[in-house]
Symmetry: C4
Subunit: 258 residues, 4 copies
């Protein structure tokens, strides 16, 4: 067991991950990740999920089999304490599991929590996401940095943007920025934050040849937006195989009775 | 909790969704939707299902994760009371769940119940359904408004039509009308009803770039017709990828012993 | 409840389908069919399975949702009694479920039991099977009546043939005959029997645009041969999409240490 | 029941496969194989898995339905006793299940345990693996004996090699050797060992038109490497269908803040 560091108590704050409530983050992260494993999103220990409740952030550890994760495997850190740290890369955990290392995704999850006040962030290696970034790569420089699709009903599954009310409409174009992958996952953080700055309303960022980060105001929104996005990525790959364009110009249908 | 409106009692008629019987509509809708979620039909809160028993209609709420739905989440309304309403868009619920909004699919489900006396209606966002409508789009105006397939055994899974006995035969052509999607799901209602009028024997209507509505005299028929249709949509997409035609001219085989 | 007919007792012989043993045919057929449903083999009430134990044949009814089937839904008939019947189409059931009709697959299952002494026969509507028959159709008359594949390890999953010991080898060519579909499933019987006569060693017959019948000496063999075949059908479709031939000429590798 | 042979006690050492611990190899092999069955890796009794704990090797039997396997079905042998055997093909089991034959994969699993000191070895018939070997076949002699892919995040799921610390990096090229299939699975052993000698750092060997062998220092590593590899095989097949190359030349992204 790792020795307690500042912020940790001698008993490792195990109470932070102990609850009978299935919706407690320490229970919810394992059950969500097990579900994601069956979807092929987090195979081979790739991908993960993190939940924020007020100041506390719950994170799955590095290298764990996602369908076998247990509440006792979860890290907990304090956003406020983290904000006071001079070195962004030096993270102080309120609670650490005995036999794991922190996830390299941690600073990327934190970006969603601090810059967007998200309540949950999901990272998948879905091969639909990867294929979309590979297909974009073939479209040449300048056109490979955004996934764009419109006129598909499932687009309505996304919020209109940070601090905005309501969802996208059927005719709106969903735009997901794509950032290049880096050798070390933590190094993605600055590019993810850049993309968040440039696309203030996006709830997701694709990482080339790697996967996608999706967040939401709460677990419900992060999870359903992640599902909707994976649905659209799969559809987009199948459309490409059938030579169908992702963007079309469709005249809105006018209901006669209005 | 919303205050009781006309038709609602002070106790919100919660008894309407409380039953030990797994086949009670309030139990069946959640178990069906959980199954549909694993099939990819209702991901990201899209899609849904509704059951009618005599005068009572049970409907899943808007925006719920379909694999997590509970009986307490179900709306109940009376067809007779609804028919007396002057404003079709003003629906009076006998029972409303506390924290949800009614589904935008409601008037479309009601169309199946009132115009076809259906006992169950299912709405999926199956990407096979969406891909079929996209493939049809490429076939030019006039040819994009019907999905047609023949000479596939699974076609026998469909009834011959409203008030008709028996099922389609192997050599019959299954025809499913396609309507254009509208910006607001409720606005689909008039077009769905138009398609029902024009195709009096159909048990399903495809919605372009959106999904499909399928109904049946009872839950069994709606569900198995929906499965058969999804099977055929998947087959049709795979046939397209292999350059095989959906419609063929096949001479019936004559059994020699007859 | 249907009145008892000859061979049936007043109590409908319900004991024939009541057992605590999970391997009893009346329990095994429902559990197998539930598994097959998740594989997409028996959706929309299509397909089915039958088990023979000595003289008794257990059969799923027509039109039942395969993942919901119960032991009480199972028909039982006697092979010996059936053999004495003058009219092949008049089947006498020892036990009939109250609310169902017999499966149209019945005479096809019986063919496997009587002509091959099979212990189990499975019928799937797997779309891989259907696609294989559709691909063959494009290869012109004379070449469309056999599915042939060789040099794939999974071919070893098949027995060498009726009354023969051992299994096919890696370099052997698996040959599955294809018969044309008929308007009525029972009419397939004579063609299935013809194919059995012409291909005495086959354990399966494909039905064009319909699916496949697979049998085996017992449940284990029928089920694993059905799985292996579906694996090969899927592989064959994917090979076709990648323009790879099903039949190749490969020189056997000689182990040096022999 | 087979009579006890040297090394076996009269009671067949059944205690070796009896444990309440779900992580005991005799419990873990069945639960892993059931999971692999749902992934399509071990259908039709193909494929399998073996675990080594110190000197003891636990192996699934031949011809068993992998999702139905029980602890009592497991063979156990001693590596040390096996090493003293003069005839490699004459294996002495400490414990044999009553009604099975030993798996033909046994010497291949042993190769991973003795030559690489692996703790677990998995053999799948995944059709993604088979398709990759078929696609390679079309690239002509000399280019068909290695699967190579780079610049995909999931490559990080593999260790750098035998006795080496750390994992492969994003820009590293993962190389998996391909050996030709033999008529008898045991005859693959010498070629598998040759490939291990030629590729000392690989954790997997593809077998043409057959599947893949994957191992790891322990169950966790073998299983997650097998998942990562299957993910990459699937991606590679989909890339081929979309005409995207497996090997690319990508300039590493430099994090600005370093």
């Amino acid at each position: 067991m790792t020795p307690p560091t500042s912020g940790q108590t001698a008993d490792n704050n195990d109470h932070l991950v102990q609850s009978e409530n299935p919706d407690h983050p320490a229970n919810l992260i394992p059950s969500l990740c097990a579900k994601f494993w069956t979807l092929g999103w987090v195979t081979g220990t790739g991908g993960g999920a993190s939940i924020r409740e007020d100041d506390l952030v719950y994170i799955a550890p590095s290298g764990v089999q996602k369908e076998l994760m247990k509440p006792a495997d979860i890290y907990v850190l304090s956003l406020a304490a983290q904000a006071q740290s001079l070195d962004r890369r030096n993270r102080v955990y309120l609670r650490s599991p005995p036999n794991y290392k922190p996830s390299q995704c941690t600073p990327l999850f934190l970006a969603a929590f601090t810059k967007r006040h998200a309540g949950c962030c999901i990272h998948t290696h879905s091969h639909w996401a990867v294929l979309v970034t590979l297909i974009l790569e073939t479209q040449g420089p300048g056109r490979d940095r955004e996934f764009r699709i419109n006129n598909i009903e499932q687009i309505k599954g996304f919020g209109r943007g940070f601090m905005k009310n309501g969802n996208l409409g059927y005719h709106d174009t969903l735009v997901i920025p794509v950032i290049e992958n880096t050798a070390h996952e933590e190094d993605l953080t600055e590019f993810l934050e850049e993309a968040m700055d440039k696309y203030p309303d996006t709830y997701a960022v694709l990482v080339r040849r790697h996967g996608v980060y999706v967040w939401g105001d709460n677990v419900h929104k992060a999870k359903t937006q992640c599902e909707s996005l994976d649905y659209l990525f799969q559809l987009a790959v199948e459309m490409k195989q059938l030579n169908l364009p992702w963007i079309t110009d469709i005249e809105p249908v006018t209901p006669r009775r209005l």
